[in-house]
């Protein structure tokens, strides 16, 4: 029940961010996922020991939030938005198409461990609907066909660039380290804004605002 020295130091660095140590629990759980691929019992025990909490207290938090996984996910975790607007615009068809194409159900992983699929709630990109997130990077304006190509490319190692994101998609573990609050140095990559974000500004400039 232990992690390497680097992980230990990162855990301490997380705790040092907060006036009270218990606040560190969420980023620490993201860091556990970056090492183990999901929230493992080992990770729970480690966090509870570090913070002086019971494992039950840590489990209570780990089971509340949907990004903490209780079993391994794919190297590329694919979230299809099926909240109302994306669903209506094609998210339902995309989700059905992907499950069929990959031969997996919701929250299941392909046998090669590469891809898992999950239907997700609104991801704050409605002006780019229908939206797919791969390891929480934006793939905007998707269709059933583009979604199938996307997962095929991810499986074959082509690693397509997100529409608005870094130059390539990080793995689930790498992403989890980012979500633990550790800058991965890719902030300068990708566009500053997509076309829908800039639409009002463009029109305002044309109107001479």
């Amino acid at each position: 029940m232990s992690y390497d020295e680097k992980t230990n130091e990162q855990m301490d660095a997380i705790i040092a961010r907060y006036p009270r140590s218990r606040s560190a629990i969420m980023p620490m759980l993201h860091l556990v996922q970056s090492r183990d691929g999901f929230v493992t019992p080992t990770g729970i025990e480690f966090v509870s020991e570090k913070l002086g909490l019971t494992t039950a207290e840590v489990y209570a938090v780990a089971t509340f939030y949907s990004q903490y996984k209780r079993k391994p996910v794919g190297e590329y975790h694919v979230g299809v938005c099926t909240n109302t607007l994306c669903a209506v615009m094609g998210g339902d068809a995309i989700f059905a198409g992907l499950k069929d194409h990959l031969g997996v159900g919701n929250d299941e992983v392909t046998s090669d461990g590469k891809i898992s699929v999950e239907h997700i709630e609104c991801n704050a990109a409605c002006d780019y609907a229908p939206v797919i997130m791969v390891n929480w990077e934006f793939f905007d304006n998707q269709t059933v066909e583009s979604a199938k190509t996307l997962v095929d490319d991810l499986r074959s190692g082509k690693n397509p660039a997100p529409t608005r994101g870094a130059n390539k998609v990080s793995t689930f573990k790498e992403t989890s380290e980012l979500l633990a609050g550790f800058n991965d140095g890719h902030a300068e990559e990708g566009v500053q804004a997509g076309p829908a974000t800039l639409l009002g500004l463009k029109i305002a400039k044309e109107m001479g605002a």
Binding site: Y18, P19, R20, R22, S23, M26, L51, A60, F64, Y65, S66, Q67, Y68, G79, T82, N83, T84, L85, A87, V88, M89, G90, D92, A93, E121, C122, A124, C126, D127, Y128, A129, P130, E137, N141, T143, V144, P162, R164, G165, A166, L178, L179, A180, N183, A187, E188, G190, V191, Q192, A193, G194, A196, T197, L198, G200, L201, K202, K205, M207, A209
Partner: protein
């Protein structure tokens, strides 16, 4: 009135708008210098005078909120930004932070100085990797520039800024659930009072503000309260981001004075796709009662939207045309609220579960008119009976859709299922039509 007013979005078309160099090129961090030369109370007064109201949905005056923080109490104060943007339809803070994280950081430093806080937090949802990167980098660069940390600009003011990254929970956008989550607990709302201004983070006086509210502050400090309140309507001052999504020809972000109408915005967005007819829309996310084409000329400010029976919310204008089944839309939103109910209050936890069962049956054509009465009865027994407004949001689409589209519900019973082909409502259908 219909003219757009890009302020927050003014430089988003610069390729490096998200960097400290890009932000500084357009006067970034000069408002901070101006604010730090003022008395903290004077900064609060400017924000009060501007009439800025919270852009996260409730519309509470920002300066008044800052003024509630007790001063001289010898306790720590905290400044917390709610960047947990998750309300269905809401998509303004995420692109804002991707394009310009520094305007938020500058607003945070000014706000923290005003309320005399030495530690600030940004609570961002965990499902936006690239925005997290941009914020982490921006915070690093701001420390290096000397605008964060000890003795900022030699004024003796100290401020630490921590990015707290969530892990998937809509409820954490509710400010007291957010605070519980930030303290390391399950994100569940607290009973109020006490309000966060008295007992917030770690039971200390705390301001919780939406991203867009805080990001509006640097421009107000720079150009003055009068400049800001010369825009907008009598009680809804200034400019704001309106987010158009769904069945419009050109969806996107439009920054305009409060009080613009959907008709004016639709003109700018090229109208409904394929020349279709508008069926229903949300003025401010799924928790705000739906509107129809009757409301095209309702000024989109806090008072007018409220007078017309809904709420301005987050100005998330989700547009649905005649190809959309209202019942399918409402059922999906209800499933969302059921999934996101934190489970603390029984009416919400159990009620949203029952609503999903009933609406699912109705969508499949199983039901009678009596069931519609029962549905409304359940809604009435859920509304206003929980610690937070999640359940109130859950019943808003149901009650409002029954008001405007009762016949559509009935058509499901007559038809023995949904009479509308879901394919017609997709984006792919639009591309096939070559629109």
């Amino acid at each position: 009135m219909s003219k757009l007013t890009p302020v927050l979005s003014a430089h988003w078309d610069d390729k490096d708008s998200f960097t400290i160099a890009g932000y500084s090129r357009h006067g970034g961090y000069s408002s901070l210098k101006k604010a730090l030369a003022m008395e903290p109370d004077a900064v609060i007064q400017v924000v009060k005078d501007s009439g800025l109201r919270g852009r996260g949905g409730a519309g509470f005056p920002t300066g008044t909120k800052w003024g509630f923080i007790p001063q001289g109490d010898n306790r720590e104060h905290y400044f917390v930004v709610n960047a947990d943007e998750s309300e269905p339809g809401t998509c303004k803070d995420t692109p804002l932070l991707m394009a310009n994280p520094h305007v938020l950081i500058e607003g945070i430093i000014i706000g923290s100085y005003a309320i005399r806080a030495n530690h600030a937090f940004i609570y961002i949802r965990g499902e936006v990797s690239h925005v997290v990167r941009r914020l982490l980098q921006a915070i690093d660069d701001t420390y290096k520039a000397g605008f964060l940390g000890k003795n900022i600009l030699g004024t003796g003011f100290n401020l630490e800024l921590t990015l707290h990254i969530g892990a998937g929970a809509y409820i954490c956008g509710e400010e007291t659930a957010l605070l519980d989550s930030l303290e390391g607990f399950r994100g569940q709302p607290r009973l109020r009072p006490p309000f966060p201004a008295i007992a917030g983070l770690y039971a200390r006086p705390t301001v919780v503000n939406n991203v867009e509210s805080v990001a509006s502050v640097p421009a107000i400090i720079e150009k003055g309260a009068e400049w800001f309140n010369s825009m907008g309507t009598e009680k809804s001052k200034g400019f704001t981001l309106y987010s158009l999504s769904g069945h419009v020809k050109n969806p996107g972000q439009f920054e305009a004075p409060l009080g613009i109408t959907l008709r004016e915005l639709l003109d700018l967005a090229g109208g409904i796709r394929n020349g279709n007819k508008l069926k229903f829309w949300t003025p401010g996310g799924s928790s705000t009662p739906i509107f129809t084409d009757e409301h095209l000329d309702t000024p989109l400010d806090y008072e007018s939207v409220s007078a017309a029976g809904s709420m301005l919310g987050t100005k998330a204008l989700q547009i649905f045309d005649e190809t959309t089944c209202i019942l399918r839309a409402v059922l999906r939103w209800t499933e969302f609220y059921k999934h996101e109910s934190c489970g603390k209050c029984t009416p919400c936890r159990e009620g949203t579960w029952w609503l999903v069962q009933m609406l699912g049956n109705l969508e499949n054509g199983v039901g009678t008119e009596e069931d519609l009465a029962k549905l409304l009865d359940i809604c009435e027994n859920i509304g206003g009976r929980s610690f937070c407004a999640l359940a109130d949001g859950a019943i808003a689409p149901i009650i409002s859709s029954l008001k405007y589209f009762r016949d559509d519900y009935l058509a499901h019973f007559k038809n023995g299922g949904c009479p509308i082909d879901p394919v017609a409502s997709t984006l792919f259908e639009t591309s096939k039509a070559g629109a």
